[in-house]
Symmetry: C2
């Protein structure tokens, strides 16, 4: 398994660990943005298998790895009842993704 990118520490593509580079490394991993997205859509905490189904049955091994990374990054957290939800920081991330969604709609309509 790889390492969870953290701001301030060297990450793939940046020896300095500049925040934006660490973020691009973390969020650039496959399924990461999607998992965050689905956790947010759920509203209430979502269980592992349920989350897996919502992500089009993505591989459980990868989901497990992504959740561990997101937890370490302080973006997602397990509840006491064995389910997952976003932290306030995670909610902010989703908010920050808003313009990206608008862009994707514009992208879909290009000639």
């Amino acid at each position: 398994m790889g390492t969870t990118p953290r701001p301030g520490r060297p990450v793939r593509g940046s020896g300095t660990g500049r925040p934006v580079m660490a973020a691009l490394d973390l969020l650039g991993r496959r399924w990461t943005l999607r998992v965050v997205w689905e956790l947010h859509r759920g509203g209430t905490p979502v269980g592992f298998r349920d989350l897996q189904r919502r992500c089009d049955a993505m591989s459980s091994s990868v989901l497990s790895a992504r959740l561990a990374e997101l937890r370490e990054a302080g973006i997602a957290a397990p509840t006491d009842a064995a389910a997952w939800r976003l932290t306030p920081l995670g909610d902010d991330l989703v908010t920050a993704m808003g313009p990206l969604l608008d862009w994707s709609r514009a992208w879909a309509e290009r000639p």
Copy 2:
């Protein structure tokens, strides 16, 4: 080589090709966001080897693949002088990434 995700066509993680899913697939590939980012930072068109250096000497084979994908997606385009730059759509994408950068700074300052 893989396929370039397009809105409206099935992509990894979504049989419907919903725009946001296609975008998450395309942008979720390793180095993609970084390449877009560096093309934008350059301002003027950037040559292949120069771009590679700016991306911390990422693999040339992957850079080549990413540029092909970004071109197909209408995000980047080669100039007549054998250099690369963002299209207007690509510039919009960078703009849409703005809040994400702000978020990364906040992320860097968490306890």
